[in-house]
């Protein structure tokens, strides 16, 4: 009974703190003025290729680097995973064989 009371008290305390926190936060957040948006913060607006102007910093190498990063990172991880798994399973086979030999 004591334990149940304790957990109820704890739950009540959490609830009170949470409601104080939320109660203070909500009106404040409503008041806050948002910064003027830059670079498609709220939504992405599509455009056709002809409407695009000149670009100062070439984007292509960056895009390539990004895709390359993804591929390389994932491939490297898969490879290390494969190697680790292979090593452990080989050892396991070895040790199991020794155990089997001992049992006979």
């Amino acid at each position: 009974m004591i334990r149940a009371l304790r957990s109820h008290a704890r739950a009540a305390l959490v609830a009170i703190l949470l409601s104080v926190g939320v109660g203070t936060a909500v009106p404040v957040m409503a008041q806050q003025t948002l910064p003027s948006t830059t670079a498609a913060q709220d939504g992405f607006v599509p455009v056709s290729p002809e409407d695009m102007g000149q670009e100062h910093l070439p984007a292509t190498p960056l895009v390539f680097a990004a895709y390359a990063t993804v591929w390389v990172a994932l491939l490297l991880y898969v490879l290390t995973l494969w190697r680790r798994l292979g090593r452990v399973e080989r050892e396991l086979a070895d040790v199991s064989a020794k155990l089997e030999a001992r049992r006979r």
Binding site: G43, S48, V70, L74
Partner: protein, 221 residues
Amino acid sequence: MRLTDRLVPLLLLIAAVMFAAAPYVIDTAPYESTMGLVQRIFYFHFPSAMTMMLTAIVCGIASALYLARRKPIDDRVAVAAAELAVVFGVIVLITGPLWARKAWGVWWVWDARITSTFVMWMVFNAYLLLRRFGGPGSEVLSAAVGFFGMMLVPFVYWSVNFWRTLHPKTSVVPTLPVDMGIPLYFCWAAFTILYVALLIVRVRLEASRSALEEAYLALED
């Protein structure tokens, strides 16, 4: 184990095919008006970020379960998920700045979401370091770290709408036009499928390691 034996290669194959097809699918999307070509990075950056968040939650839940009932499978899933969080975190933290360099002019900006992702990544690095260097009994300790890490995620996701930030807000993805949405969800699916496959393999690695330890112990008897 039988099911995962057949499932993993299939998932890996599907994921590989989807990843190979991804550039073509992405090409069907229109360019974004203010960011142009570099916004293409979004199609890999966003799914990586979401996968990292997913795996953070998986790690957290597994850690909580391990703390509660101490079953080995919970610990194995937690370790696997933590490692994958670090991997996908690396992808997010590299593709992000590459995109930012063009879109915002700087490699790094200390806004809430970027900072929070960096923090989450550090939490899971801490998890792995604790496992590696904490000595015996570190499974329980790292489970506590994983659990707390997961509870940090809501603060992370919520802070972007509260702190001044340059980062595209959470309202971007739901309001995406369809021809941008399809490549995005395609890539997202590819990442998720790959994630599931990797998680299963990594858990199996942990299980094999435990079996190996037990075998060594049996050998010593």
